[in-house]
């Protein structure tokens, strides 16, 4: 592992479902502690890219390295233990377990944390995500916003170096989304790299320092957010599909 190199580097990723090409020759890197946003129209391959990076899908072509080691052949659980965590658009808490237990099981399996240390870490993570008051509630009793927080907190409890977020703001009001942005900003300040898919661009650019735009399985723009949003190809592919800026996904 080199200190200056990217924490994650994917080269030449290809993925198809039957005849449908979902990812084609995608190169994607994330620096240590960097926050990258991914935008693009529906069906651009954003979620599939996240699934290939997290290990849910094996790519047909390309190679993924994490902290300099090839992880292309590893499954989701193995990559999670190495430090790649992922949250889903639709939160799936362990409904019959308490919020505290949801995180504890993640800290134990994902980070190998034990005993008092594990409990301490879980309490810190709960505090960070504003869930301390709900620690003893069962997962299934939470509302959508708290489920999203729990989804995020559970991923954090595995002590990732890279966090993959899939439309965590979807379905939330602007006020609720602002609260989440604060949490994600705090996560970033801890030096955890973030890759974040979000349709709500104005929320996204509050946190990320770099924006990647995808269309039809390819990366069509990559760089500083304002520049990417001005890019003609991006406007055509993404903003062109709506008459106004896509305030909501």
């Amino acid at each position: 592992m080199t200190q200056t190199g990217p924490i994650l580097a994917a080269t030449g990723l290809g993925k198809r479902f039957g005849a449908l090409v979902v990812l084609e020759d995608v190169d994607f890197t994330v620096g240590i502690g960097e926050a990258v946003g991914i935008v693009g129209p529906n069906g651009a391959g954003k979620t599939t890219l996240l699934n290939v990076l997290s290990g849910r899908y094996a790519p047909e072509a390309g190679r993924i390295t994490f902290r300099g080691a090839d992880v292309t052949a590893l499954d989701v659980a193995a990559r999670c233990r190495l430090g790649i965590a992922r949250s889903h658009q639709i939160p799936r808490p362990f409904g019959g377990m308490t919020v505290f237990e949801n995180l504890l099981v993640a800290a134990a399996a994902g980070a190998g944390a034990r005993g008092r240390m594990a409990e301490q870490r879980v309490l810190e993570t709960l505090a960070l995500c504003g869930l301390l008051g709900l620690a003893n509630r069962r997962g299934e009793t939470l509302g959508l916003l708290d489920r999203k927080r729990l989804e995020l907190a559970r991923a954090l409890a595995t002590e990732p170096a890279l966090l993959l977020l899939d439309e965590i703001g979807a379905g939330l009001t602007d006020g609720e989304a602002r609260g989440l942005v604060e949490i994600i900003g705090a996560i970033r300040e801890r030096g955890i790299a973030i890759v974040w898919i979000e349709h709500i661009v104005h929320v996204l650019v509050q946190v990320v320092g770099r924006l990647v735009c995808m269309d039809a399985g390819r990366v069509i723009a990559d760089g500083e957010p304002a520049a990417v949003l001005r890019n003609a190809a991006v406007i055509d592919a993404y903003l062109g599909s709506a008459t106004h800026a896509p305030a909501h996904g």
Partner: protein, 300 residues
């Protein structure tokens, strides 16, 4: 007093049913698998203990130290070779494959041991029939007391294991969402393997008490499965303390049935089981209707 004694004996019998039912309940709670070979695994353990006692003079208590790990290993193999593949085929396939497995195991036991009826009772001497006499009508078998204690320890231990240990919590998480536990670093296949190993190891303990308190032959598994099943259904699928209560309720129903009529033992148990099953089907909708009517009355 005779009546009281009948209830007491029913409770002890029920504790045995809870012991044979707990791994069925556990496996269903974790993997949504109804293991129809469960009774046969209990009988396999009983035969292993019998061989150890008969050939090598090893008392069943010590025999368990060898048999529990062997059965746990068998459980792991069962998961990898049969259940994992069956689970991919939907709900019906594990039922069919474990049913088939039960037939194979029963007939292999028949090939190996013949149709003779065996018991482990001779291996524990006086304890098999020793009892405390509380009054003219009330006696407590010492083995029965051990079985009740064992049921409480096993079910309580299992509950504690699921609530308080790393593996226990991983099992509960995997039970709820096997498709997403990978995201928090859990290897679902390994968890399933451990869970099945634990379930079949528990069947070994059940097998010891089957052999100690009664007799068994290669085809005894079906009856054990039936009683275990009834205990689990009465107590509620997936609930461990419910299984203890279900077992005891079944045991009391059977002994009271036998008290009323000598032929009433089995029919009372099955009848009670059916009553609970029907109540489970019809009472919740009825309760819901009453609740709704109550709400309407309040609103009006």
């Amino acid at each position: 007093m005779i009546f009281l004694n009948q209830i007491l004996q029913g409770i002890f019998l029920g504790a045995y049913y809870a012991l044979i039912a707990c791994s069925l309940s556990f496996l269903f709670g974790v993997m949504r698998i109804i293991n129809l070979a469960h009774g046969s695994f209990i009988v396999v353990a009983a035969f292993l203990l019998f061989v150890l006692a008969d050939r090598f003079g090893l008392p069943p208590w010590l025999g368990l130290i060898l048999v529990v790990p062997v059965m746990a290993a068998l459980g792991w193999v069962l998961q990898v070779l049969v259940l994992e593949r069956s689970l991919k085929g939907g709900l019906l396939v594990p039922l069919l494959s474990t049913f088939g497995l039960a037939i194979v195991i029963d007939n292999l036991l028949f090939e190996g041991f013949g149709a003779d009826t065996r018991s482990l009772a001779p291996a524990i001497g006086d304890l098999a029939f020793a009892s405390w006499t509380l009054s003219d009508d009330v006696t407590i078998g010492q083995l029965d007391a051990i079985i009740l204690l064992a049921a409480i320890v096993v079910l309580g231990g299992l509950q504690l294991f699921l609530a308080q240990t790393r593996l226990g919590r991983a099992i509960r998480a995997t039970a709820e969402a096997p498709d997403i536990v990978g995201l928090i670093g859990i290897d679902a296949r390994a968890v399933y393997g451990f869970a099945t190993a634990i379930a079949i190891a528990l069947a070994a303990i059940a097998g010891a008490f089957l052999g100690l308190r009664a007799t068994f032959n290669p085809y005894s598994g079906g009856m054990q499965l039936l009683f275990a099943f009834e205990a689990v259904v009465i107590g509620g699928f997936g609930s461990l303390w419910g299984t203890l209560i279900g077992g005891i309720v079944l045991g009391v129903a059977q002994t009271l049935g036998a008290f009323i009529n000598p032929h009433g033992f089995l029919i009372a148990g099955h009848g009670f089981f059916l009553a609970v099953l029907i109540a489970r089907l019809y009472l919740p909708p009825l309760a819901e209707r009453l609740r709704r009517r109550g709400r309407k009355a309040v609103a009006a």
